[in-house]
Point group: C2
Chain length 206, copies 2
């Protein structure tokens, strides 16, 4: 185990490193669906994308939806200092309610949208986009239980695709579609070959 100081410096360097390729900001809040979080972080890192796991409430281990405890790399505020990020990823799970009410998350998403950079949300997290007025008019999908959130809005709801891409917004349906979601992000930020290479190494077949 590295000393706390060395560890902190090493992690900050890791998060801020942009020497090669792209970078990603993944928001981690209490109640996040741990499969959706981990599959995204792992697959993006396998593709060589620099991932920063940003803890909305700091760097203490975060209790996820099925009681797995995950330690963020940096606090949300510290992670922001290393931006901008090529993609902001929002895992689902009950955490979506916290993200939907967070003015910090709202400000980050608005900046990301203004610069036409990628925003990716899975499961219940597409509701966070709606709450902060992001991607209005775009085609989206989500976990079926929150489909009603999009009724009577400008969003076009797609209930047949596992992953939906409309401009800079990527949405997906649930834990069972997390691999396709993360591989799609890799495809957009890098290319089809990079995404396929990771899929092959995972032994993943759609």
């Amino acid at each position: 185990m590295l000393s706390p100081l060395v560890s902190s410096v090493a992690r900050r360097f890791y998060c801020s490193s942009r020497m090669v390729g792209k970078n990603a900001f993944i928001v981690l809040a209490e109640g996040a669906e741990e499969m959706e979080f981990v599959v995204s972080a792992d697959i993006l890192r396998r593709a060589g994308i620099k991932v920063c796991v940003a803890g909305l409430k700091g760097t203490d281990p975060v209790k996820c939806s099925r009681d797995v405890y995950i330690k963020p790399d940096l606090s949300f505020d510290e992670a922001l200092k290393n931006g901008p990020y090529d993609v902001v990823v929002l895992p689902g799970g009950p955490a979506y309610k916290v993200l939907a009410q967070s003015s910090e998350v709202g400000a980050l998403l608005k900046e990301q949208e203004k610069a036409n950079r990628l925003i990716a949300a899975i499961c219940a997290a597409p509701v966070v986009l709606k709450s902060h007025g992001i991607g209005a008019g775009k085609e989206v999908t989500s976990y079926p239980s929150v489909k009603g959130e999009f009724e009577g809005t400008s969003y076009k709801y797609n209930e047949s695709s596992n992953v939906v891409v409309d401009g800079n917004v990527v949405t997906s349906r649930g834990p069972g579609t997390a691999y396709e979601f993360a591989l799609e992000i890799v495809k957009i930020l890098l290319d089809e070959a990079a995404s396929q290479k990771v899929a092959d190494a995972l032994l993943w077949k759609k």
Copy 2:
């Protein structure tokens, strides 16, 4: 955040609770493949199986193979006190080398085998079984890169199935087969309907 004392007591209760159904012991060591770990823990908990995440080196957050930090529920030794467990699960990733050399892991697996309780290993972790002389003569699979470990042994190697069940030993191939692996464990410990119910909630289709 709960105080450390309350948190410790609550977690011990959680791990030791056998009021309903089955229980599982998942070993977490540095270098574990985080998707294989999290998918297993999450899916088993969704099925109502009591999961204890046992840290081989204690309860500090464990650095997994793609730098996700996960905090165990209990140390390996503390978790053992709450046994026996209906299944011992070994995630893959570079951690398999540590597990293969651990006399504590060997002793747990031998006890598990002697009592004919379930042992489940994915990716490179089936090599841990071989290292400790577990399941000799049984049919197994693994991540393709470690297939050679089974050549010239009594194991029957299956390279076409994503999940192989032979008696009390379940093996699987890699991160991309983790959902099938975990759902198979649920099917064995509970039943087909319980497994299908979780798969449906995940929006998982094979």
